[in-house]
Subunit: 336 residues, 2 copies
C-alpha cells in the first residue's frame, strides 16, 4: 500500500483515520493533545467552560431516505456538542457548491438545516459560500461547526469509562449507513430503510439528570458501534464485552447487511448515542430512554468488564466470543 | 442566464454572491438577520460577548507564491474575528481531501496551519477529516471556524461608518489575487509577486487603542477593496469617495492587471484591513500602522463624504470621477 498518498480509508473513521490523526494531524497541528479524540473540544475562557466542534459532510447521495446533507450536518454538529454534555447554542455553515448545482435543491437543503436547527434549539449564526467549477467538487459539501455551553460541572468524555459500567444504546443500529448505501447503489428494497438522522441533545439533557452516573457519551457515526467502542476502550484503558443478541437491529438492515457482506456493527448511525454509565443507574437510564421518542428501542448491549486491556469482544448469538477491532480501510465511503 | 442553477459568480464575493445570500441563504437559514453581512457574528452568552466565524478555502493552486491553503485558512479566520474587534482564541479545522493527495503536501499544509496559528496566538482545538474519491474534489478544501472574545466594549461593524470618517488601508492592494492568478495561469513574471497572506489581529489590537475613533474594520478579500467598500456604504447608508492616486499598489501588480484587463480594486487581498475612523484619529492611526511590520505601506485612501446614498465613487488619476459597484460575476475564481 502506497503510504505516501491519502486513501479513501483515511476518511473512514476506522484504523487508517486514526493512524493519520495520531501520526500526522494531531502532532502537526498542536503541541499539546488536541481534543480531536472526543467529539468536541472542551475549553475554558474567563472561568466559563464551552465546547467547540467541527465536521464536514460529503455524503453521497446528497438526498437519501430519511433526510439530506443539510439536516445531517446540523444534527451531526449538535450531537457532537451534546456528546461532551454541552448545551448546543450556535452553529456555523460553510457551503462548498459545485457550479451547476440546482438552486431548488440548495433551497431544500437550507430549509432542512433551518428546520433541524429549530428542532435542536440552536441558531445558525455564521456562514460562508464557495463555488467551485464543474467537476471540482461533487454537488455540495457542508461544514458545520458549533459552540455549546455547560450548565453543570460533569466531565463527560471518552476517557471516563469504568469497570462495571453498563453500555446502553438508544435504538437500532446501522439505519443511516444502510439507507444511504441502498440509495446510492440503487438497491430495490421491499421495505424503506430510513436514516436515523436526528438531534440527540434533548434526549441527552434528560439522561444527564442522572448526573455523575453518566461516564461516557459517544455517537457511533463513521466506523459504527464497533469502532466507537474500541476507541473508548483504548481511551479509557478498559475492556468491554458486548452481547450480540441484545443489539437492536431492524430486520431489513440485517437483510441488506447479509446480502452485501457488511457487519452492522461497523455501519454508521446518525441518531444514536452510546451511554456508558454506573451499573446502579442503568435501568433508570434505559427507562428514561424508552420514554423518549428517540429511544423507544433502547437496550443495554454490554458492559465494561475490566480495567486495562483496551479490548472489545462480543458474545455472538451462537455462543462464541470474537474480538472487535476498528474498521480497517473503508467499508462504506462518503456516508456522512 | 439560467437562474435555477448555481454559477461560479455566486462564490465571487460580488453582486451574485450578495443576491444569493440576501434572497436565499439568509432568509432560509434564519428568521432574524444573521451576522452574515459582517466578517464574524457577535453573540452573547451569560453576559459575555464572543465572536464566531467560518470560512471554507478552495484556492487553486493549493501552493502559491507567499503561502499555501493552510496558512491562508488560519489567517483568514483569525482576521475575520479581528475585524469585529475580537481577540481570536481557538479555531477548528475541517479537511476535505481528494483520494490520492500527497501525504507530504498534507504535512506541509498542516505545518503552515500550525505556524500561522502560533504566530496569531490561537490554538487549533477541533478538527475533522473527510476523504472523497478521485475526481470528486480538487486536491484539498479546508474549512476553518473560529471563536474570539472581547476585552473591550466597542461595537465595530459594517453599519458604523459615519460622515467625515477617513478610510485607511495598511498596504498595497491586489497582491494575493495576482500571486494566485499568476501561478495558476503559469505567467512568467520578471518579479515575484507574493501573496500578502497574514494574520492581522496583532495590528488590529494596536489600532484599537484609539478606542471609539475606530468605526469599521473590514478585510477586503474576495471582491477586493471596491466590493468591500460598496458593502460598507450600503450597510452604513453613507457615500464614500476614494482617491485613486492614494492607493498603495505594487508596479508588478499594476502591470499584470493591465496585461490581463483586471482592476486591482476588485482583486482579493489576504493581509489587508480597511479602517474607517474618526478624522481626528486618522493621522495617528496611519502612524501606528506604519510602525507595524504589516503596515509599512499604509495610506489614507478616501473618506465618507455624506450620510445616505450607499454610493462609492473614485477620483481617478486623470481627474475624473467614476462610480464603483460590486463585482458582478466572477473576475478571479477560487482565489481563497
Amino acid at each position: 500500500m502506497d503510504t505516501d498518498i491519502i486513501l479513501l480509508g483515511h476518511g473512514s473513521g476506522g484504523k487508517l483515520s486514526h493512524q493519520l490523526l495520531e501520526e500526522l494531524i494531531i502532532p502537526t497541528l498542536s503541541g499539546v493533545p488536541m481534543a480531536g479524540r472526543n467529539d468536541a473540544a472542551v475549553l475554558e475562557h474567563n472561568g466559563s467552560r464551552f465546547a467547540f466542534t467541527t465536521d464536514s459532510y460529503v455524503v453521497d447521495p446528497v438526498f437519501f431516505p430519511g433526510g439530506n446533507i443539510g439536516g445531517l450536518a446540523v444534527n451531526g454538529t449538535v450531537n457532537d456538542l451534546a456528546m461532551v454534555g454541552a448545551t448546543p447554542l450556535v452553529i456555523s455553515v460553510g457551503l462548498i457548491i459545485e457550479e451547476g448545482f440546482s438552486r431548488r435543491e440548495l433551497a431544500e437543503i437550507l430549509t432542512s438545516m433551518r428546520e433541524a436547527a429549530d428542532r435542536a434549539g440552536v441558531s445558525i449564526a455564521a456562514g460562508d459560500t464557495k463555488v467551485v467549477p464543474r467537476g471540482k467538487a461533487d454537488r455540495i459539501f457542508i461544514n458545520t461547526s458549533g459552540i455549546g455551553f455547560f450548565n453543570h460541572t460533569l466531565e463527560i468524555n471518552g476517557s471516563n469509562a469504568r469497570a462495571g459500567d453498563k453500555i446502553l444504546i438508544n435504538g437500532t443500529i446501522g439505519d443511516h449507513g444502510i439507507a444511504v448505501m441502498a440509495k446510492r447503489e440503487g438497491l430495490e428494497l421491499d421495505t424503506d430503510i430510513l436514516s436515523d438522522c436526528a438531534a440527540l441533545n434533548n434526549l441527552i439533557e434528560e439522561l444527564l439528570e442522572e448526573g455523575e452516573a453518566i461516564h461516557v457519551l459517544r455517537d457511533p457515526t463513521r466506523g459504527g458501534v464497533a469502532t466507537t467502542l474500541k476507541e473508548i476502550a483504548l481511551q479509557s484503558d478498559v475492556s468491554i464485552t458486548l452481547d450480540e443478541a441484545a443489539f437492536p437491529l431492524k430486520g431489513a438492515v440485517r437483510g441488506v447487511c447479509a446480502l452485501l457482506g457488511l457487519d452492522p456493527l461497523y455501519v454508521a448511525n446518525e441518531g444514536k448515542v452510546l451511554v456508558l454509565a454506573a451499573p446502579e443507574a442503568a435501568e433508570r437510564l434505559l427507562e428514561r430512554m424508552k420514554q423518549h421518542p428517540l429511544g423507544r428501542d433502547a437496550a443495554i448491549i454490554g458492559e465494561v468488564t475490566a480495567v486495562g486491556g483496551g479490548r472489545v469482544q462480543i458474545e455472538t448469538v451462537v455462543g462464541g466470543m470474537r474480538g472487535v477491532e476498528m474498521l480497517s480501510g473503508e467499508q462504506l465511503p462518503r456516508i456522512c
